[in-house]
């Protein structure tokens, strides 16, 4: 590991500092998404809103184990928390959702389809699974250039995305090249409305790891300490040269597929069971119990983050959308070709 990194795992356990960063990012993700949901309900957002509610522990454990500008991260649908942990500005979210011309996507793409690719935060396309090979390619490029060092690549997918050919081809490629990549499967029991038994037939998706020749890990996605240990551990393992890591987190999406969907198809037993626990509540309790956080600190965090998110919404709301008349309608960057069609 390069000097600049404080270790996130020591003696097999996540460091206090890392766990606190994870918890803080979880809260940031949740509070930001609650605001986005409210904006959606108030009719202020055009298009879909897709939340990571219930998946923050997984997402933030990954994001907080990575560093923007050094690692490569391709978030997917439910990674608001992970994005923030990685280093994405809150304004990137609000500007993209609200269609501000100042945002990284300048109104050209919206909601979760955003990124800062030149800082290692890749902009997702909708097609599930497509980012696995892309992150792998970034790592291969770094290796060829001799700049790989201890950089890591990472992406998250859902249970449903594992059925795509792109996921398979990507993971196999990463395995063949033994790249330092972490692939998280957030197995939230449903793909949109489709339950796992219609999506895959193995007992546990972690059973796929062996077939790709990559390390496999399972984790309870509702328990932040476990997420930090296992996901942080997987990142540390990839960083220290142990090759690709597949982590399967079990959890539940605590809402609909998007804010247009009430998720009424989710089995009540699942909602009420272990996987239906809210990782933020569980996390707060665990951190307080373990002396990593006090109730006062937590409240202060909530306060501080609420203000941050409020401000990010307010700024984006004041900004103009793109001006179609001055828009540069160029799909290619090659200057000499711009005049040509």
């Amino acid at each position: 590991m390069s000097e600049a990194f404080d270790p996130i795992i020591q003696h097999g356990a996540p460091t206090q500092e890392y766990v606190r960063r994870v918890m803080y990012a979880m809260l940031r993700g949740r509070i930001m998404e609650t605001k986005l949901s409210n904006l959606y309900k108030a009719g202020k957002i055009v298009g879909g809103v897709y939340l990571g509610k219930g998946q923050e522990a997984v997402s933030a454990s990954l994001g907080a184990a990575l560093r923007m500008g050094h690692d490569v991260f391709a978030p997917l649908i439910r990674d608001q928390a992970g994005r923030m942990a990685f280093g994405e500005a809150s304004l990137d979210a609000t500007r993209t959702y609200l269609g501000s011309a100042q945002g990284p996507m300048r109104g050209r793409d919206g909601n979760i389809h955003r990124g800062r690719p030149d800082e290692g935060l890749y902009a997702m396309i909708s097609h599930l699974g497509a980012a696995v090979s892309q992150v792998g390619g970034a790592l291969l490029a770094k290796r060829i250039q001799g700049t790989l060092g201890d950089s890591v690549g990472a992406t998250c997918v859902g249970d449903g995305a594992t059925s795509t050919g792109a996921f398979h081809e990507g993971l196999n490629f990463v395995a063949v090249e033994r790249l330092p990549m972490v692939v998280i499967i957030a197995d939230n029991q449903y793909a949109y409305s489709t339950p796992n038994e219609r999506q895959y037939a193995c007992e546990d998706l972690v059973d796929r790891a062996k077939g790709y020749g990559v390390a496999g890990h399972s984790v309870d996605g509702t328990n932040v300490l476990e997420c930090a240990r296992v996901i942080g551990g997987a990142v540390a393992a990839a960083r220290s040269g142990e090759g690709p890591q597949l982590v399967v987190a079990k959890l539940l999406r605590l809402g609909g597929h998007g804010e247009h969907d009430d998720g009424s198809y989710v089995e009540p037993e699942l909602r009420q069971g272990h996987l239906g626990r809210d990782c933020i509540e569980v996390g707060k309790e665990l951190l307080i119990q373990n002396g990593l956080l006090t109730a006062e600190q937590y409240d202060a965090w909530v306060q501080e983050i609420s203000e941050e998110c409020q401000e990010a919404v307010a700024v984006a709301q004041r900004e103009e959308g793109p001006n179609p008349y001055s828009e540069d309608w160029s799909a290619t960057s090659s200057l000499s070709l711009r005049g040509l069609k």
């Binding site: 793409d109 909601n111 396309i125 050919g165 179609p324 069609k341």
Partner: protein
């Protein structure tokens, strides 16, 4: 009578009727079962036919491969892509497996792929695409693009009866916006275009949602200067009813080919080329095209509205055409 049924209702009802009438028909797609599909085009159908409305994994390539095999076994699968854009993952199975099968083996593969197509505000680059041109380019499939409630209904029923793969491009913008009293129409067969609005000064040849934008543009020009613009709805872009198009151009002498897809190639280029090859002498002015811009479909409603053809941009083109 009230405008009580919509374009998406028509798609749902056509599937229900096809399933009632033909036990070989079954539906396959992501979230189409109990959930009734992302757009509710299959709502309630699994309840009626639990064995014949099947939820698919997120595997577009396998979904079409499945349909090819099922068709070979005598079934008539209707596959729903959640969005037409995700058909790109099934591209190989569609153009190389399904579309080549009849020519290669003499054995047809009757299957229908429902493609929720076209732009809506805020949908962005990956939930807005118009895919008719790429599937039309390859030999072996029929590509239909209904613009009305009645066509959405009757052409889906006809598509199921055809022995060839049919790419059924349904426009998402029309889903709930387009209403009608019922599903009845003129029952034109696939392959026949329709004169949606007759006129004598210029012909707009178009299809799918753009038919309605063309009619709006025609209304504007009518009011503006008494121009009578004829609007031809292609209905199917492959086969493409050149005869009806040329008959219209014979009346008007002026052609505007209009489409919502990207500007390079595609339906509008095919229309212009066919008219020029076979009816050059009928043209009193250069045939024109209006397409979307040559960028991905943007997310922001303001950009989106500028990216696609609108009554205003169609009017600009028509005024130029009429002034020639």
């Amino acid at each position: 009578m009230s405008q009580s049924v919509t374009y998406i209702d028509a798609i749902r009802e056509a599937q229900e009727r096809a399933m009632e009438e033909n036990p070989k028909v079954f539906l396959y797609g992501q979230d189409i079962g109990k959930f009734g599909g992302a757009f509710k085009a299959t709502k309630g159908l699994q309840e009626r036919w639990p064995e014949r409305v099947i939820d698919a994994p997120i595997s577009e390539d396998a979904m079409i491969g499945m349909a090819v095999g099922a068709a070979l076994e005598g079934m008539r699968p209707i596959v729903e892509m959640q969005f037409a854009d995700f058909g790109s993952v099934a591209f190989n199975q569609i153009v190389n497996q399904a579309s080549t099968h009849y020519y290669r083996t003499g054995v047809p593969v009757p299957l229908v792929v429902r493609m929720p197509s076209g732009g809506t505000p805020g949908s962005g680059p990956f939930h807005s695409q118009s895919v008719e041109s790429i599937y039309s380019h390859y030999p072996g499939s029929v590509v239909v693009t209904p613009a009305t409630v009645a066509d959405a209904y009757s052409m889906l029923l006809q598509a199921v009866e055809l022995d060839d793969p049919v790419i059924y491009c349904e426009h998402k913008f029309l889903y709930r916006w387009l209403k009608s009293e019922n599903y009845e129409g003129d029952d034109l067969p696939i392959g026949k275009a329709r004169i949606t609005r007759s006129g004598k000064h210029a012909t707009v040849v178009t299809y799918s949602a753009m038919v309605h934008e063309a009619v709006r543009a025609a209304d504007i020009l009518q009011q503006e200067g008494g121009w009578e613009i004829e609007v031809v709805d292609l209905r199917s872009v492959k086969p493409l009813d050149t005869d009806t198009v040329i008959a219209s151009v014979a009346r008007t002498g002026r052609l505007l080919a209009l489409g919502e897809s990207f500007p390079w190639g595609g339906v509008t280029a095919e229309v212009v080329s066919r008219v020029c090859a076979d009816a050059f002498h009928l043209l009193d002015a250069p045939p024109m095209r209006v397409n979307a811009k040559n960028t991905p479909v943007p997310y922001h409603p303001k950009l989106w509205a500028m990216h696609r053809p609108t009554p205003e941009s169609i009017c600009v083109a028509l005024r130029n055409l009429l002034a020639y």
